[in-house]
């Protein structure tokens, strides 16, 4: 059964989580788009500019929200489900389903916003964004699992070392996507890497490691 009580709980905590982000988003959008009008005059209001700014902030919101929630899924919500004696297999299934739902909705929101921009090969962009979100979610699940296994200080230390590599990779991959280079290789990388993290995460959780942190 895909949607069961664990998924309903995940949906509830996600909605609470999303509302917090939404408030932050509204506050940022208000201060960056409406507040300046108090100083320069409301006659300067440009609906098109407002639309672009609002969608840009929304894109940032969606991405940061997905990232934070993926990390929380495997740390806070894992513990929460454990307290209620949910089996590890079911927890992992709930996290996996959540990842798929977040990827689809996140990609849909981001691609809808990109409709405001003129992008060549929109279909390819859709596939790449979808795969990259799924990869990021699984990667963050993995990092959170490491944090729970070995302690957060260990993970932060490792992550700092990895950060430069990640930024370097993201920078180049982003550049390649923009330039339309190495399409097949990039898509293959996204699929293989996401599948690898998916399998590792499921393997970690199916074993009797104790999550002390």
């Amino acid at each position: 059964m895909l949607i069961d009580n664990s998924m309903k709980v995940m949906a509830k905590v996600f909605i609470r989580f999303m509302l917090t982000f939404l408030l932050i988003y509204l506050a940022i959008t208000f201060f960056n788009t409406i507040v300046p009008l108090f100083f320069i005059g409301f006659s300067e209001f440009d609906a098109n500019e407002f639309k672009i700014s609002a969608t840009l902030y929304l894109a940032a919101l969606v991405y940061s929200m997905l990232v934070a929630f993926a990390a929380k899924c495997t740390s806070v919500y894992y513990d929460m489900f454990t307290i209620f004696s949910i089996t590890r297999k079911r927890i992992m299934k709930t996290i996996n389903i959540t990842n798929v739902i977040l990827t689809i909705t996140g990609s849909a929101v981001l691609n809808l916003m990109l409709l405001l921009h003129d992008i060549p090969e929109r279909g390819l962009f859709l596939i790449m964004i979808t795969l990259s979100i799924y990869l990021i979610l699984n990667f963050l699940n993995f990092v959170a699992f490491l944090g729970k296994l070995f302690g957060w200080y260990y993970v932060v230390g490792t992550f700092v070392l990895m950060a430069s590599f990640i930024l370097f990779t993201v920078n180049y991959i982003g550049g390649f996507i923009q330039m339309g280079l190495f399409k097949t290789e990039i898509i293959t990388f996204f699929i293989v890497a996401a599948a690898a993290f998916f399998l590792i995460n499921n393997f970690i959780l199916s074993n009797r490691y104790e999550y002390k942190h």
């Binding site: 307290i83 089996t87 079911r90």
Partner: protein
């Protein structure tokens, strides 16, 4: 005999190199209350956590309704472990109000009774609008008790369900536990140090020490095995080939013997004729003697 609800076979659990549970096996029937008794550090909480799937055992199996619990994906919502804390997730989350916890539990447990939960909230005078990490220790225990009772989980586990509770709240808990168990029978394990307050509720008793089971018995069978003999020392001593002395307390010529039998009806009749008073040894005393709390007393 009711069908077997819970079966533990050869459960072993290590905290690093320390063996907390040592090859533990027992079965628990459906609709039975078992008392889990042991000294501090004997492995009670670890055992409950293993049953509740909060810890994964190194060896052995936890079988519920003839199925290996840890291998099942959907075999869930059957267990509720009520403790004095819900763990660091709830302790450290600043925004988690008590009512949110009950809301999540209501979503997860298919038999959750919200009306009963509200009734308990009123009885315990629990403020559900407070954040979980801001309420007192006693109130956290109350949250655990309400989760345990209102979840109506098929297997309900209470781990020392009195920590931080005042005497009035303890009495409310005992009364609600008995009432709810009568109306909604289910399988329960209650670990406790306050043995005298709870022993009347137990149908089975599991006494553990240093991660091993030392007594696993129906409460009625304990009465036929362990006795408290009181009277003059000489007549009691004359029967000492019929029992094993665990402890002796003497006041003048009178003595109180804690012994392990069984004693047959003929011996009991003869003892009574010799003015020896025979009664059941309390669980608290039994724990004391079996865990070597009174190891030197038998020599006096």
């Amino acid at each position: 005999m009711n069908p077997i609800k819970l079966k533990l076979s050869n459960i072993t659990y290590y905290y690093d190199n320390f063996r907390a549970l040592n090859n533990m096996s027992f079965v628990l029937e459906e609709h039975q209350i078992m008392g889990l008794i042991g000294r501090n550090g004997s492995g009670k909480t670890t055992l409950l956590k293993v049953i509740a799937h909060q810890l994964l055992q190194d060896k052995g199996e936890v079988i519920i309704d003839d199925e290996n619990f840890s291998m099942k994906e959907n075999n869930q919502y059957k267990i509720c472990l009520a403790r004095e804390t819900l763990g660091k997730t709830f302790e450290q989350t600043e925004v988690m109000k008590v009512k949110m916890i009950f809301d999540l539990a209501a979503t997860l447990y298919k038999n959750w009774d919200m009306n009963y939960a509200n009734h308990l909230i009123k009885r315990f005078k629990l403020n559900v609008n407070k954040k979980y990490n801001k309420i007192s220790k006693g109130m956290k225990t109350t949250v655990g008790i309400i989760l345990g009772l209102a979840s109506r989980a098929e297997i309900t586990l209470f781990d020392e369900p009195y920590v931080g509770l005042d005497p009035v709240s303890r009495e409310i808990f005992y009364a609600e536990l008995q009432k709810d168990y009568t109306e909604n029978p289910r399988t329960m394990i209650i670990s406790s140090h306050l043995i005298n307050e709870l022993e009347g509720m137990f149908e089975r008793v599991l006494i553990i020490d240093e991660g091993s089971i030392i007594v696993d018995s129906h409460i009625d069978k304990l009465k036929d095995r362990y006795y408290l003999l009181q009277g003059r020392k000489e007549p009691i001593e004359s029967y000492n080939t019929h029992f094993r002395t665990m402890n002796v307390e003497t006041i003048g010529s009178l003595a109180s013997y804690s012994v392990e039998g069984p004693l047959n009806e003929e011996i009991i009749r003869r003892m009574k004729a010799d003015d020896i008073d025979i009664s059941m040894i309390s669980l608290q005393k039994l724990l004391y003697h079996l865990t070597n709390g009174g190891e030197n007393n038998a020599d006096r």
